[in-house]
Amino acid sequence: MLEATQTMTTKIMSPINLLHKHQKALAPIISLLLILLVTAIITPGFLHLRMIDGHLYGSLIDILHRGTPTAIVALGMAVVIGTRGIDLSVGAVIAISGAVTAVLTVNTDFPVWLVILCALGSGLLCGLWNGILVSVFNIQPIVATLILMVAGRGIAQMITEGQIVTFHSDTLNAIGNEFFLAFPIRVWIALALVLITIVIMRKTALGLFLESVGANVRASRLVGIEARLLVLSAYLFSGFCAAMSGIILAADIRGADANNAGLWLELDAILAAVLAGASLAGGRIYLALTIVGVLIIQTLTTAILTSGLPAQYNLVVKAAIILAVLLVQSPKTRQLLSQLFRKNMDYSA
């Protein structure tokens, strides 16, 4: 009898405990829901979904669809940031991989899978370059990846000869725009990538090792962790993710736009990781929350576009809301709020 009551209490307590334990994790999710709610009030029909030709159609699907490239890039970025690094070159790698995809599709008879492999390979090469600069030559990540950020777009322009190269491929078009089981195919690709990464990071010691390298390189080395190889692999992964995103973005517009593809996407990816609670000082990797961060950013973009706001206010409104989300998430603000709350309670008592 007593035992039964005890299990009952633990059962009742556990969600509340969970809430306390994961209070930080809840902040981005609550922010996302709030933004969705407010948008739904401002723009009626924003949450409305209907089926067209066997797939879902509506702004919510647009958010998933448009958020995919950023989500994939942010996944790699979260891992790199976890090692106390940063990868500014992802936007340029997107341009390179898109250019490779387009030029190979147009100029060669390569089958699609080979084109995709080549594009992913170009991303891995870029990642290898960044990784060697950071882990072998010990160049600061922000400087090391800045080199490719600037040069990479030039490389992409050389590949496309400065033109927008348009191509036609049914498979690539499917990756960019078609649906499978009511959802866009690219969303399934991103989902698979996220799940695989989470499993590798959390079901093996790899995630822990990466975080330990980010938190303290020397201590990690002393306990026998191969820090250099781990850092190198983080940049390889980021390059791979960026290349995947580049293929999707090129497939989306059926062309490679070397000047604009993935422009400033690195900033959104970094922001998503930070919204998830990652510290730029390394040591923490939150993969699922990073995706929530991406959804916050993309929801804002889509919401602003559907709201009819004059174009010149886009960036200011977006920045103000992001700032508000970051403020809410900061421990200091939360401390202040809870103090205020307690005082009020005292008065009312």
């Binding site: 723009t43 029909g45 067209i52 030709d53 159609y57 509506g58 702004s59 647009d62 448009r66 400065g162 033109q163 927008i164 348009t166 725009n177 973005l249 989306d252 517009i253 059926r254 062309g255 736009d257 000047n259 604009n260 593809a261 889509t302 576009l305 559907t306 709201s307 009819g308 004059p310 174009a311 010149q312 886009n314 960036l315």
Partner: protein
């Protein structure tokens, strides 16, 4: 009644039905070249670089025009660097050319080199962009008027829809002169028609991806595509992105929604051949003729306007095939 009032307010609308319209709003260019005798000139041309297809065709057009007239054209590609352009202009001056064409990469920092040219009475013609310098330092500027491009687009649309149309607009990059002026020029004509309204207007950043994403959101926000009669995009690339968005939403571009844009890039002609776009206004790359004419007029001691507007024509699908072949 309606067409009457169009005719009264905008008498030039009648001429708009022609297949390839030369800019009817524009100040008609002074026909100076008739007097171009077999005088051979040496002209220096400092180009920005070859960063876009448009710039490459501008370079080629100016070279071809110089060859046609038998001029000796000294060409210099600055690879996007002002210091290279200043060097090039100085070397043209020291070679004692008869005139200089300059496509300035930035607006500022030209005063001293322009003064050097003026001291030796070498006329400098700015092509396709302006500079922030005293207008007396250069002979003239030969460039498109973005406002007139917007107005031409609006007047074509008014004629096409009998002044009755709900328009969605894809703006260029916020703050760019092309976006501001094309929007203003379009709005200035639209406001004469009570039944023409811009129902949505957003920036697609001049890119295909931007145009596609914004058009998707327009279609969702309007709920029903039949409420949108036309799309006006500030450049062709955004229009091409929007065409993809329409097709994916099950809307037929050019049929359900009129697609109208500016620039005249090769791909928009291809889209017109495929019946997916209705009209484009060319951003004229053929600036050599008017620029050389201005130098000749100056040599004859004539007064030259400080801005020679060299707007391109509006193209329709019927000539798309030839135009595409020409540009490929």
């Amino acid at each position: 009644m309606l067409s009457n009032s169009i005719g009264r307010n905008l008498p030039w609308l009648g001429t708009l039905k022609r297949k390839t319209l030369q800019t009817s709003l524009a100040v008609i260019l002074p026909v100076l070249s008739a007097s171009a005798m077999a005088e051979s000139l040496t002209i220096g041309f400092s180009q920005i670089g070859s960063e876009s297809g448009w710039r490459t065709s501008e370079t080629e057009s100016i070279k071809a025009e110089a060859e046609r007239r038998g001029y000796d054209l000294k060409f210099s590609d600055a690879q996007q660097k002002q210091e290279n352009q200043i060097k090039a202009v100085r070397s043209f001056i020291s070679q004692g050319v008869d005139g200089i064409l300059l496509a300035p990469v930035v607006e500022t920092g030209w005063d001293s080199v322009l003064k050097e040219a003026k001291r030796l009475d070498i006329p400098v013609v700015l092509v396709d962009r302006g500079v922030a310098a005293d207008p007396s330092l250069y002979l003239t500027k030969v460039a498109s008027d973005f406002k007139e491009e917007g107005s031409l687009a609006a007047s074509w649309l008014a004629a096409e829809t009998n002044g009755r149309c709900n328009i969605v607009e894809l703006q260029g990059t916020v703050g760019s002169s092309a976006a501001i002026d094309r929007k203003d020029g379009f709005a200035a004509v639209i406001e004469n028609f009570p039944n023409m309204n811009v129902i949505r207007s957003q920036s697609g950043d001049f890119t295909r991806a931007g145009g596609k994403e914004v058009m998707e959101s327009f279609l969702k926000a309007e709920g029903d595509a039949s409420n949108i009669c036309a799309l006006f995009a500030h450049n062709d690339d955004m229009a091409l992105g929007a065409v993809l968005a329409m097709k994916e939403a099950g809307v037929e571009p050019a049929k359900d929604i009129i697609v109208l844009s500016i620039d005249g890039v090769p791909d928009i002609f291809k889209a017109m051949m495929d019946h997916e776009a209705n009209a484009t206004i060319e951003l004229n790359p053929h600036l050599g003729g008017p620029a050389f004419d201005a130098i000749l007029a100056h040599r004859d001691g004539k007064e030259v306007d400080k801005w020679i507007k060299a707007n391109g024509p509006l193209y329709l699908p019927d000539t798309a095939e030839q135009e595409y072949a020409k540009r490929k």
